[in-house]
């Protein structure tokens, strides 16, 4: 009886002294991200160059850094062209509003997925079902700021700094399974210039970094840019959804 009472009291004291977890959200950071998201949300088209570095964990060598350079073209409401070069090979992704086409220039192979949906719906669905990655796509989601807030334990504005010679607002945050930093240009357009993510829930804390340059706002992009024509002798392959039984 004494033992039970002791345990009960210990639990009570523990409950009393454990403080509720606090989140810290800086409204300045939120307003900067809001501004960025509002500008992106009103773009009819855009193009940007994305240079990304990402870590791949190796048991023998630790984190091995890989890189890609991509040119992304977007046209509302549902067209995309991504031309990618780097460690993941030379490849294109084109979406004309009805079909997503994946073409590997290295292997001269292509695959296609029927996807009659908006741009962001396609990006989100194809990423979740097929694991196809679109660089810096998070910035395109209309709910980007809300989603960041939902995941953030901390979100702060660190001040001004320079990225690629351009003055930027520097924002940092911490989520459940990652820490992240954004650099947003300090000009009329407030476009994202750089993003760094450190995955704290993965072994060795791999990082992802993307630098976005050469932003073109509302360029006149012809529809033909987003149409895929099967190259000569290209082999068709089926794009398989991610297995639910993958390890």
């Amino acid at each position: 009886m004494v033992k039970k009472t002791f345990v009960f009291l210990s639990v009570c004291l523990l409950s009393v002294h454990l403080p509720a977890q606090m989140r810290r959200i800086d409204t300045v950071a939120v307003s900067i991200l809001d501004r960025m998201s509002a500008v992106i949300g009103q773009l009819a088209s855009c193009s940007v160059t994305i240079k990304s570095n990402y870590d791949v964990a190796s048991k023998e060598l630790g984190l091995v850094k890989h890189s890609d350079e991509e040119q992304l073209y977007l046209h509302g409401p549902n067209k995309l062209l991504l031309k990618s070069e780097g460690d993941r090979g030379s490849r294109d992704l084109s979406f004309d509003g009805n079909k997503l086409s994946y073409y590997s220039r290295d292997r001269n192979q292509y695959g296609q997925i029927d996807a009659s949906m908006s741009l962001v719906e396609m990006i989100d669905t194809v990423n979740k079902l097929y694991g196809i990655e679109f660089p810096a796509a998070d910035f395109l989601y209309p709910s980007f700021v809300d989603d960041i807030l939902a995941d953030s334990k901390e979100l702060v504005y660190l001040g001004l700094t320079r990225v690629e010679g351009k003055e930027c607002y520097h924002i940092a945050g911490r989520g459940q399974d990652k820490t992240f930093q954004f650099w947003i240009s300090e000009d009329a357009f407030s476009l994202p210039m750089k993003m760094v993510i450190v995955y704290t829930n993965k072994e060795m804390n791999p990082q992802y970094e993307a630098v976005l340059t050469n932003w073109q706002v509302n360029p006149d992009l012809p529809d033909a840019l987003f149409e895929f024509s099967v190259p000569h002798k290209a082999k068709h392959v089926r794009l398989m959804p991610l297995s639910t039984h993958k390890k």
Binding site: G41, G111, I123, T125, G131, F134, A150, L158
Partner: protein, 295 residues
């Protein structure tokens, strides 16, 4: 002969197809969680595109994608979205955006989180200091983005007076201060010195210690992480024995500026200068405010 099971065949097929397609098996998914975009059911596979018949070629390397003339328009300087010219009465053509527009601009639910039991503190001032200064060094140009708003001088009630104001007599409860062999009188947040048979309002002497501040003072946290009090254009720290006048600390954010501030253009921004201190017009939580800066 051992028969390979169907699940094994399927697994091998998946791995082979993915390898052939060059798609990473374990690519990192979208980096942040986003809701509301997944469509029920997987998009179907498109039928293989019909390849136009081509004459036999002898080259062994895969033919490059047909080269088309550069169809992109010449690089244009970034400019705000411009509506096409329309004739009177004609409806302007709305171009759909790339994502349908951002959501909840300036109207976020800070309590929406992955853990409903967490408390959320929405901080108005940035105080990430701890043991490491993660803030950027160099001239302090302000944490908050510049946001111009018209200067509207503020008066802290009938007992407050701006610099240079002359009184022929002081209130009976005015306090005499002696600092650096100088005599000052303090009354309701205002500092006076004898002048021309009366008393004139002077800048608050740094180091002066007063017992209490009048109602209506502001509190702020500056770039150094310390808390300050502000009243009538003067900054104070609480020493425990009273409130001591200090110089305007960089990063301090205040709402009201007294009469007598002067606008000055610095690098394209219009700052306010009051008593040799620069104030950057900003917006904080939708309210016009000023931040102490060193341009």
């Amino acid at each position: 002969m051992q028969i390979v099971s169907k699940p094994t065949i399927l697994l091998l097929l998946v791995a082979a197809m993915l390898a052939l397609a060059g798609i990473p098996v374990e690519g990192m998914a979208q980096r942040f969680n986003h809701g509301g975009f997944s469509r029920p059911g997987a998009p179907s596979q498109a039928a293989p595109a019909r390849v136009p018949q081509q004459p036999m070629r002898t080259e062994s390397r895969p033919a490059p994608q047909p080269v088309r003339p550069e169809m992109r328009s010449a690089p244009q300087p970034a400019r705000p979205e411009m509506r096409p010219e329309t004739r009177p009465g004609a409806q302007p053509v709305e171009r759909p955006s790339i994502n349908g527009g951002s959501r909840n601009y300036g109207n976020h639910d800070y309590n929406r989180s992955y853990d409903a039991h967490e408390n959320v503190t929405v901080r108005q001032n940035v105080t990430v200091r701890d043991h490491v200064n993660v803030y950027h060094t160099g001239d302090y140009r302000g944490i908050h983005p510049y946001y111009y708003h018209p200067y509207r001088p503020y008066y802290w009630g009938p007992h407050w007076h701006p610099l240079g104001f002359f009184l022929s007599a002081l209130a009976t409860d005015a306090v005499l201060l002696s600092l650096n062999n100088q005599r000052y009188y303090y009354d309701d947040g205002v500092y006076y010195q004898p002048s021309n048979g009366g008393y004139a309002v002077v800048p608050a002497p740094i180091g002066a210690l007063v017992a209490a501040l009048p109602p209506g003072y502001e509190t702020t946290t500056a770039a150094d992480g310390n808390s300050y009090f502000y009243f009538g254009g003067v900054f104070y720290v609480d020493t425990g024995q009273g409130y001591q006048v200090v110089g305007a600390p960089a990063g301090a954010v205040i709402i009201q500026l007294p009469v007598g501030a002067v606008e000055q253009n610095i690098n394209g921004d219009t700052l306010l200068v009051y008593n040799n201190t620069y104030y950057l017009p900003i917006s904080q939580d939708g309210q016009d405010a000023y931040e102490v800066v060193n341009p």
